[in-house]
Symmetry: C2
Subunit: 332 residues, 2 copies
């Protein structure tokens, strides 16, 4: 019995369980020459998927209503008539939310179960780690001694950004929403300071206190008022990597806030949208660097693993309530 | 009789004549070794001076209350005990608003009266031209065939940006506030299209119509709602040069508007504050390029010349009502 999750309707505002529908199909899956039969093991749920559920023009086409949603997946090859991939191989790539499926192997990469746990290929060794590394290095251009602030710091990308920034000799300040997350950032991941935005009345002052020399790099995963507070503390030539805006993804009207332009002029500062797929030619080198740090235990990661295909939509929804620490992954 | 204009008080909101005070001094100015006696010929008034009248931290220190205001000036050497500059020379540089003054020559450059009119050294061959050229090339990185939108297009910087963009093979769209200005942009300066924001209800649609292939570069001198409308039309990898924000300089509260971050992420776009003084090492080469285009008549410029030292404050105030076409200059 093969199962799939389709987009039933485009969410308005915050998505709910009723925006998704489970389908069953008991027809047998038969592969032809050049094809693979895959069984899904791990599914990545990510905030950016919210964007694809709307039909606004964006950097990737929207999901179609009535069709399965896709995201990063690790799957096992159950049967193969493919030249490169054999039965028993584990592959990672963008795939539809199905328990089993046929693929021609395009866009999939073989991953090594012995080098790292399979789920890591959806996180620190996957697009999450690449986003953290390439966003920080390509736009942030970090220099030892500088100060970085990271919003969504306890999330999948943020927690890796902070550790890479520590490796590069920066003062690292993480913003997150619970004391438990702040404790994790400073104790487990070596951040220099953390700010719990849910318990801080004056974010501007809290950032100033944590960053006495001002903010040189801001790695922004959340947008909204937290980002406004950072603007008051940026230094001349500050670089702001706009990687995500989870705080406004569910807005039904265009979000408004402090005009950033006067801050940019005053500080000769830069703000740039980051999409990891623009840097595909740097993936092999970046992956090698991340794997090397991971092997040397310079890089740690945390995961929130939810069990069961049925729980993919709820795991996705939980992202918007900050219920994850590190990468949110569903194990099938 | 030497006269000076001092900042009487810091303006709140839009500056008025009462923020300025005229002083007279009939003591004789006597130069010592290494000094020059200067007589002011032309005074540049510029929107950015508004920022220096407030005492907020910025990229240049604020003017002091009770002290003369300074800006770009062309002055004639009346008497010299200086090694480099002789009586009869014309010098350009940042100087206080005084009819006569003593200087040690620091920061001043000799200008050639025969190469271009003296006032041009405050405009196309001065910081104005350098701002246009370096802002466009260093941040905008224009490529032939791309589309640029310029706000404040009929102003000193904007009108030069557009002409340089035409030289570089771009489609050039200027936004300004009167039909006369739009006519000047398209007829005299070769812009491909112009939009009069005072007569346009839907700026978003007007920009879309003028830029059917979308906007690759936005040279922003004004900020506010005009800039918000441009955001809806940017292309992937768009570059936005934030050069000024005249529409909000007189705000008494921090300006708010559309959050730019979601637009930046969606389009992998860049927004960067530009301050010409950060690029000082490129001034000689850039000035040479501008002078060459001027000599070849590839670059035209327009000036609004106001006469009389008494009218410096009113010429400055008129900038905020868009009364200038091209560079606003006071001839003494």
């Amino acid at each position: 019995m093969n199962r799939a999750i389709i987009l039933k309707q485009r969410p308005v505002g915050k998505p709910t369980a009723s925006d998704f529908e489970f389908l069953k199909d008991d027809s047998e899956l038969t592969i032809k020459d050049g094809e693979l039969l895959l069984e899904t093991n791990y599914v990545s749920v990510d905030p950016y998927l919210r964007g694809r559920m709307s039909d606004a023009k964006s950097y990737i086409p929207p999901f179609e209503v009535g069709k399965p949603i896709s995201s990063g997946i690790v799957a096992k090859v159950i049967a193969s008539k493919h030249n490169t991939f054999k039965a028993g191989d584990y592959l990672a790539g963008m795939l539809p939310w199905k328990t089993q499926q046929i693929s021609n192997g395009e866009g999939l990469t073989k991953v090594n179960k012995d080098l790292a746990p399979l789920s890591a290929y959806l996180g620190v060794l996957g697009l999450t780690g690449l986003t953290a590394y390439l966003g920080l290095t390509e736009i942030g251009k970090p220099k030892a001694g500088e100060t970085i602030v990271i919003s969504g710091a306890a999330g999948a990308v943020g927690s890796i950004v902070g550790q890479i920034a520590k490796i590069k000799g920066l003062r690292v300040i993480g913003i997150a929403g619970t004391n438990e997350k702040i404790e994790m950032l400073t104790s487990d991941f070596g951040f220099d300071a953390g700010i719990n935005y849910n318990e801080t009345k004056d974010m501007n002052a809290a950032i100033k206190a944590a960053a006495p020399n001002g903010v040189d790099i801001y790695f922004d995963n959340v947008g909204g008022p937290i980002s406004d507070a950072v603007l008051f503390n940026i230094n001349k030539f500050a670089r702001m990597i706009i990687c995500g805006a989870i705080s406004v993804y569910n807005n039904t009207e265009l979000p408004t806030g402090l005009s950033v332009q006067p801050f940019l002029v005053k500080n000769s500062a830069l703000m740039q949208g980051f999409i990891v797929s623009n840097y595909a030619e740097k993936f092999p080198e970046a992956t090698k660097q991340l794997a090397s740090w991971l092997a040397d235990e310079k890089l740690k990661y945390t995961e929130t693993i939810v069990e069961g295909f049925d729980n993919i939509p709820s795991a996705f929804l939980d992202l918007f309530d900050g219920k994850n620490k590190g990468k949110m992954i569903v194990k099938i």
